[in-house]
Symmetry: D2
Subunit: 308 residues, 4 copies
Amino acid sequence: MTTPLDLHGVIPPVVTPLTPDRELDVPSFQRVLTRMLDAGVDGVFVLGSTSEVAFATDAVRRRVVTEAARVVAGRVPLLAGVVDMATERVLDHARVAADLGADGVVATAPFYAVTPREQVRRHFEVLGERSPVPVVAYDIPVCVHTKLDADDLVALGRDGAIVAVKDSSGDDVGFRRLALRNRDAGEPLRLFTGHEVVVDGAYLSGAHGVVPGLGNVDPAGYVRLHRALQGGDWATARDEQDRLARLMDIVLAPRRTGGWGAGVGAFKAALVLLGVIDSHQLPLPFEGLDDADVDAVKAVLTEVGLAA
Amino acid sequence: MTTPLDLHGVIPPVVTPLTPDRELDVPSFQRVLTRMLDAGVDGVFVLGSTSEVAFATDAVRRRVVTEAARVVAGRVPLLAGVVDMATERVLDHARVAADLGADGVVATAPFYAVTPREQVRRHFEVLGERSPVPVVAYDIPVCVHTKLDADDLVALGRDGAIVAVKDSSGDDVGFRRLALRNRDAGEPLRLFTGHEVVVDGAYLSGAHGVVPGLGNVDPAGYVRLHRALQGGDWATARDEQDRLARLMDIVLAPRRTGGWGAGVGAFKAALVLLGVIDSHQLPLPFEGLDDADVDAVKAVLTEVGLAA
Amino acid sequence: MTTPLDLHGVIPPVVTPLTPDRELDVPSFQRVLTRMLDAGVDGVFVLGSTSEVAFATDAVRRRVVTEAARVVAGRVPLLAGVVDMATERVLDHARVAADLGADGVVATAPFYAVTPREQVRRHFEVLGERSPVPVVAYDIPVCVHTKLDADDLVALGRDGAIVAVKDSSGDDVGFRRLALRNRDAGEPLRLFTGHEVVVDGAYLSGAHGVVPGLGNVDPAGYVRLHRALQGGDWATARDEQDRLARLMDIVLAPRRTGGWGAGVGAFKAALVLLGVIDSHQLPLPFEGLDDADVDAVKAVLTEVGLAA
Amino acid sequence: MTTPLDLHGVIPPVVTPLTPDRELDVPSFQRVLTRMLDAGVDGVFVLGSTSEVAFATDAVRRRVVTEAARVVAGRVPLLAGVVDMATERVLDHARVAADLGADGVVATAPFYAVTPREQVRRHFEVLGERSPVPVVAYDIPVCVHTKLDADDLVALGRDGAIVAVKDSSGDDVGFRRLALRNRDAGEPLRLFTGHEVVVDGAYLSGAHGVVPGLGNVDPAGYVRLHRALQGGDWATARDEQDRLARLMDIVLAPRRTGGWGAGVGAFKAALVLLGVIDSHQLPLPFEGLDDADVDAVKAVLTEVGLAA
C-alpha cells in the first residue's frame, strides 16, 4: 500500500469522461486510468481542474473518487481535488473523499470572496488540522485569482499542514524561489509543476514531479520525460519535452470553443481519436468540440506521430 | 403573497450572524430580518456575497433559507443566492432553495474555470430552463472575474431566462447602457444596483431598486432613499445618499482585516454595536474584527449619528 | 483673461485631426475648436487621451498647443495634456506647454515602471512645485494601470499641488468618496468626470464639470446637460443624458478596429460626417475606420437625429 | 566591429547611475560598463527598464547612448532602449540612438492607449521599415500590459522587421512555444530571457542569451552561467543559477521602497557596496534605499559571498 507522503514523479489530473447526455462514463474513465497505470505513472489526481471539478455535482464527485479508488486499488497514491470556495466547504469535500478512498486531497486558496494573504495561510492551516488525509496546496491563480506565497507554503510544509504543492501559477521565477526556500528548510514539501511544456526547466529549478493534463493523452511520454530528468539526461529530456510541447498544441487547435473548454475539449477529443474514451462531451455550459475543431486536434496528433 | 416577478425597491443582502464558535446564530438572524421588514424593505436576499454564501456549507445554506422563509412568511419576496462554480452545481442549490421557500434565486456567471461569453449566456439559459423559481443574474466581476454583457442580459430577459439583474460590477457606464437597452426592449428586466453609495446616480440611469449590504446597518435609510428617488425628489435623495455614503466608511475602518472580511466584518461589528446581533464572528478563514477595528467602526457610527 | 483656477463646466478633450498622410490638419483642428467655443464650452483640453497625446511626437504636441492658444485666445481656459512616463519627462512637457500658451496642464500618475502609492503622491507634489502653470490630476487607470487615491488627491489639493481632478477611472463609488472628502476639506479641488454617459450621476455625487470625448461630436448637448444639472433640473438632465448615451454608441459601432482606435476613430468619423473635419485618419499604428465601420457610425448618428 | 545581427549570450541592461542631486554620474556609468566588458559580456543594453528609461529625459537618454558608445567602442553590440508610447515617438528615439552610436534598438509594444494585437504587429512592422538600425522586440507586459504574440513575433522575424526578442513576460510556457515556432521557421530570431533566476530553463526551451538586470551586480556569474549552458553542462549551470537566484533576493530585501524602486534600488545599492558606483540615488519620484534597506541588501550579498 502506497502512502501519500511519498508523492513524486508523474501524477496526471485525470479527465472525467461523460456520455453524450452528460452522465459519468464509467467504462471510459476506467480505461483512461488503466492506460495511465500501465504507462507507469506514479500517482493519479482526480477532480482537478482538468477533471472538471468545478462542474461536477457532489454526487458525481463521489462516484469519481469511488471508481478511481476501485481501479487504482492502492497501486499508486490517489489524490482527489477538493475545490471549493472556502475552508468549511473544502473540508466537507475532504471528509467525503477520504471516506471513499482518496490518499490525499488537493486544495486551492479560497476564491470568490477576496481573501488576503494572512487568511489564505490560515485556510491551509485549518485544512491541515482537520482534513483526515494529507493536503496538497494547489497554486492556480488563473482560476482562483490568488498566488500562493512561497514563504507561507514552506512554513505550512514545515508545520505539517501541507505535504506538497502543485504549481500551476505560470510563475517560473516564483517556482525557483519556492524550490530554494524549500531546500533551505530541509525539503518539507514535494513540488510539482502543472505546466506541461516546461517540465524540464521546472526540474532544473527543483521540481520533484509533474501533474500534466496532457498526461491524459500521452502518459508514457511524461513517464519517459520524468525518468530522463531524474537520470540527469538533460538532452534526452529536452527532446522529449519538445515533442510533448508540440503535442500540447492540441489545446490551441479549437477555434469555436475557448477558455476552459478548448483545453479539456482537446484532451477529450484526442482520447476519442486514440480510442480510449467514447465521447468528447463537456459539462454544461460547454459543449464538446465541433467537427472542425476535432479535425484540428487530429492534425496535431498526426503531426507528432500519435495518429495516422 | 408576493410574487418574485414583482422585484423592486430595497432588497438587502442579509448578513449571516454566527456564534463565537461559528454556528449559525438563529435568534440574531431573526432580529436582523425583522428589523429590515419593520423598516419597510421590499424584499430580502439571503446567501449573497455579504451573507457569506461562499463560506457557508450546504447544511448552513439550507438552515439560512429555512429560517428566512419562516421569518419573512411571504410578506416580501425572498431571494436566495445559489452561488457555485458552474451550471449543474448551481441548479442543485436552486432546487434546494426553492424547496425551502425561496421565491427566486440569484446566480452569478460561472467561475473558477475560464468561461467565454457564449458559455456564460448558455449557463443562464439553462438555469432559466431548469430552475424551479425565477432567476436573478448577479453581475459581480470582483468575485467571479467575468463581466456580464448588457446585450446578453437583455436577450436573456426577453427570453424569460432571467427576471432581474443585480449589478455589483462597479461599471456605471455599462449600467447606463444596460438600462437603455432594457428600456428599448420593453423592460423585460428589473435592474438593481449593489453599490451602496451611488444609488441616486443608478436610479438616474434607470435602476428599479437597490441591494445594499449597508442596508443591514441602516435599512430605514435605504427605504427613505428609495422613496425620495421614486418621488423625483433628487435633492433630498442626494442628501440621504451622502449620509449613507459617510456611513459606508465603516468598511474602510478596519486596519487589521482586509478583503471580504473588512466589509462584512464592519457590517457585523456595527450590528453588534447597534444591539441587533450578538457576535461579529466571521467564518473561517476570517476572524471577526479586533477591538481596535471595532472602535474604528464605532467612530464612524458616532460621526453619522447612529451611535452615542 | 480667464484663470485656470476657475475650472468648471464642459471642457472637452479636443481631437487632433490628421491629413490622410498623418500630418496635423490645422484648418480642421481650428474648426473643431471654433465649433466648441461657439457651443459655449467652458474650457478646452488639448493633448488628452482622445487627442492622441500618446501618439503625437513632441513636434506635433508643440504645434497643437500653439494652434489651440491662437484659436482660444484666452476666451476660456486652455488645458494641455503632459502625458509621459515619469516626473522629469512630464515637467519637460509642462514647461513647453506653458511657454506656448497653456493655462494649465493635465498629468497622469507615472506609468510603465510600477510605482507605489507613496511615489505617485510624490510625483504630483513635485509637479506642483515645478510646473509653471497649475496642474490637473488625470485619473485614468485603463491607460496608466494605477488608481489615484482619494485621500492623497484631497491632500494634494489642500497643499496647492493640484487644482482639479479629471476622473476617468470608471469608479463611481470612489468618485463619490472623493467628492465627500473634498467637500469636508473645503473644496480645494474642482472635480470633473470623463465618463460621457453618467454625467448626471457624477453631478449628484459632486462633480463640477465634465471632460467628454463625445463633446467633440456634440458640444452643444453637453453644454445643455451641464446647465440643466447646475439648475437642479434633474429630469431634463436625465433625458439629455440618455440622448447623449445613445449617441455614445458610435464608439461601439466599429467592428474592424478595436481598443483606442474604435473610440477616437468613431469620434473622427462622426466629425467628418458632420462636415467639421476633413479626414478620419488615425495615427500609427492605427488606421482610420473602414467604410463599413463609418457606415455603422453614421447609422447611430441618424438614429439620434444628428445625421440625415 | 560587431554587427547587431550577431546578438547572443549575456547582454545586461545597464543601470544609469545618478549623483545625489540626480544628474547622470558619468564616471560611475563608465565603471559599470567597463566591469561588464571585463567580465566578458556579449553586448550591453542601455536605456532598458532597469536603466530607468521611463524616467530619463530625452537629454539624459542622449548622453547615456553617447557615453556608452564611447566606452563600448564597438567591442560588443550596443543596444539602446527606445521606450515610448507609440510608433512615431519610438521612431524619434530610434533615429537619435542610431545617430549616437547604437547598433540596435529595443522597442516594446505601444502602451498607454489600448492597442489590439493587429496594431501591435503593425507597430513593429513600421519600426522595422523606418528604424535606421535593427529592432529588438521587448516583451514586458508588467510595464506595457500587452503580451506579444508568438506567431506574430516569428512572422516579424521572418519578414526582417525584428531580429531578436527580449522576453520579460514571465510566461515560460509561451517562451517554449515561441522557441519551437522560431526553430520551425528557420530561426529568424535570437531569443533572450530577461528573467535572472530561470535562465537555465529558458536555455532548455531554446534561449540564445540572457538580458539580466542582476548582471549589473554579478556580470561574471552570468558569463559563467551562459558558458556552462552553451557547453551542455547542465549540472554546473544549475548550481551557478541557484547561486544567482539567491543573490537575486536583494530585490526582495527593501521594505520601505516598493515597485520599480525596490529592484533597481537594490541593484544600485549593491553596486555602491561593491565599490562600483558612487550613489544609489534613484530618479524622481523615487528615492534611493534608506539605510535599513541598504543593510538588508548587504546581508544578502554577504550570504552569497559577494561582500564581507
